[in-house]
């Protein structure tokens, strides 16, 4: 699920981004999921309806790869090992694949709520004619 993020604020300001970027890279590496071959999107808690639906909507190939990464990470975790260095997730591979779908679903839900809350007014022409 999406959480409040400073990222868009920072990305807009080039000078700030130049400052924060090295810090962010250090933090992501230190988080350690890449050393287990995971991607950031694999860490999204899936115990809710939105993410469950998003997982169902993944293309078959993506869903398969995700399960593979998770199982490999579990295996590493159980045996208290990291993957060999060449199998670590590279920063360029760490792209969002699930967030995109989640955002779509949330947009859909928001649209539905907006439409539920709609206030209908008569068209001016019809009000005059007394339809």
């Amino acid at each position: 699920m999406s959480v409040p993020s400073l990222a868009p604020f920072i990305a807009k300001r080039k000078w700030l981004q130049a400052w924060v970027k090295p810090l962010a890279t250090w933090y992501t590496n230190a988080a350690g999921y890449r050393q287990l071959g995971l991607r950031a999107d694999d860490l999204i808690p899936e115990e809710n309806d939105v993410v469950q639906l998003a997982l169902k909507r993944l293309p078959p190939k993506d869903a398969y790869d995700r399960v593979f990464r998770l199982r490999r990470a579990f295996q590493c975790s159980v045996s208290h090992q990291l993957l060999p260095k060449e199998e670590w997730t590279k920063p360029e591979e760490d792209a969002p694949y699930l967030t995109v779908v989640i955002n779509e679903i949330q947009a859909e839900m928001k649209e539905r709520e907006d439409l539920e809350a709609i206030i209908v007014s008569k068209r001016e022409k019809n009000t005059k004619e007394g339809h």
Binding site: K56, R57, P59, E108, E111, R112, L115, I118, K125
Partner: protein, 458 residues
């Protein structure tokens, strides 16, 4: 008995008056151009036809030459039909639904053997909105894999189940496939899940949509819209539809009649269809008005309450619970005249034998002149009533425009029926028996007869 002249007089008078003084017909409740005649035109390569009916509502339809006859893979037409009015580049499915609800409109998509029809019914003022919506559906629907899995496939599956549960549908489709093999013979729903699980995916549907919504392959038909206004909006909103389609689709070859027999065991009832080559639509090449008269002469269904009706087959029905119906199905370049018999097995058997006897009688000329006159009146009434029924003309008109750039003019068809002579009807009946029939029996095969037993050639 009702004298024929009284039945006919109203319709005749209506026709005569319309032909004589078209301008004077405009009264308080009459429309500006109150005839069954469609005015057709073309805007930036999109064909359209409209007639300005009186009344505050409009029915607008996009008729595309993408029925099951033209689908390159099984299930594509159904897939495309279910994708209609779903998310487009600009709006989501939900928004389309809610907006149309707010405007008080009705959206509908369905398909026949030759055409895919997207239809909207709404208040007259909302014409621009719905022309835009149809334009959007045609050019920018998103064929999303998840929408396919979550929304489209379950509906196709339901259609499949519904089809399997209906012996009549199965018999009619089986008769069509016997008569025309591929092309027109392609069933309108799947009899097994294989077609839509094996061949159907969003990409192929999208590719097919490029054919179905290419400008030469569809027409816009409106009832209750001004020609000039429709022209204006069609001109504006169909810019993004593909201008032409370069690939190949099947079904283009002229239909050929084969004939044969098929028997399918079924638990849910008994149905028997006896079909013969019929007449094409009046916009097509093989138009034979005598087939319509023969169809209503054989008939089977009563138009008057508490009476079996005058038609020959309604007298032939073995019991009141045995339903007989003769349909003259017309397509762009061929047709099928078929009698459907449903009821209990033994009665269907008896009725089928009697039905063939009746056709033989007609061919031999053992039919009174009065009965043929009645059949003509009934056929003509049906046609003119068709004209008043807003929905009926839509598909025929659109199909006529797409196939031969000619709108289906109900007045002309009614006139053609008037010109049918007694001898022609007999000749038509004789030609039915000379040709191979298509006979399909669905239900209790122990009781249902073979075509051979009925005395038909297959």
């Amino acid at each position: 008995m009702f004298p024929r002249s009284t039945v006919c007089r109203g319709a005749q008078r209506a026709l005569r008056r319309q032909a004589a003084h078209p301008a004077q017909r405009r009264g308080l409740a009459a429309p500006a151009s109150g005839s069954f005649q469609y005015q057709s035109g073309e805007a930036k390569g999109v064909k359209f036809a409209s007639r300005d009916f009186a009344g505050p509502t409009t029915t607008l339809a996009l008729v595309s030459k993408a029925g099951t006859r033209y689908q390159p893979l099984p299930g594509l037409t159904e897939g495309l039909e279910q994708f209609a009015f779903r998310s487009t580049e600009r709006r989501s499915t939900l928004r389309i639904v809610r907006e149309s609800e707010l405007l008080g409109a009705e959206l509908n998509a369905y398909h026949t053997r030759e055409n895919l029809i997207l239809e909207a019914k709404f208040l007259r003022d909302d014409l621009p909105y719905f022309v835009e919506l149809l334009g959007e559906v045609a050019s920018s629907t998103k064929y999303l894999p998840w929408a396919f899995n979550e929304e489209v496939i379950p509906l196709i599956h339901m259609a499949h189940k519904k089809f399997l549960a209906s012996p009549v549908d199965m018999a009619v489709n089986s008769a069509h496939s016997l008569a025309f093999h591929r092309g027109l013979g392609t069933p309108t729903a799947s009899a097994a899940p294989t077609p839509y699980t094996k061949y159907l995916d969003p990409d192929t549907i999208e590719a097919f949509s490029k054919y179905a919504y290419a400008k030469p392959n569809f027409a816009i038909v409106a009832n209750g819209a001004e020609q000039a206004e429709l022209a204006k909006w069609v001109d504006q909103f169909f810019d993004n539809a593909p201008a032409s389609f370069s690939g190949e689709v099947p079904g283009g070859a002229p239909s050929k009649y084969f004939g044969g027999e098929e028997r399918i065991a079924h638990d849910g009832g008994n149905a028997m269809v006896i079909a013969f080559p019929g007449s094409s639509s009046s916009t097509g090449q093989f138009y034979k008005p005598e087939i319509a008269v023969l169809g209503s002469l054989l008939g089977g269904q009563s138009s008057i309450k508490w009476s079996p009706g005058f038609s020959l087959l309604s007298k032939a029905a073995a019991s009141p619970s045995t339903h007989v119906k003769t349909t003259s199905a017309i397509y762009s370049d061929a047709g099928l005249l078929y009698t459907t018999i449903t009821g209990s097995g033994a009665n269907v058997r008896k009725t089928a034998v009697a039905a063939v006897e009746t056709i033989k009688k007609v061919a031999a000329g053992e039919i009174t002149k009065e009965e043929i006159q009645k059949a003509k009146a009934a056929a003509k009434f049906k046609e003119l009533e068709h004209g008043q029924d807003i929905l009926a003309g839509l598909e025929l008109t659109g199909a006529g425009l797409v196939h031969g750039s000619k709108a289906y003019q109900i007045d002309e068809v009614a006139k053609a029926i008037d010109g049918v002579s007694e001898a022609k009807v007999k000749e038509a009946a004789k030609s039915l028996l000379d040709n191979k029939a298509s006979v399909s029996a669905v239900g209790d095969l122990f009781l249902l007869p073979y075509a051979e037993d009925l005395g038909l050639k297959v």
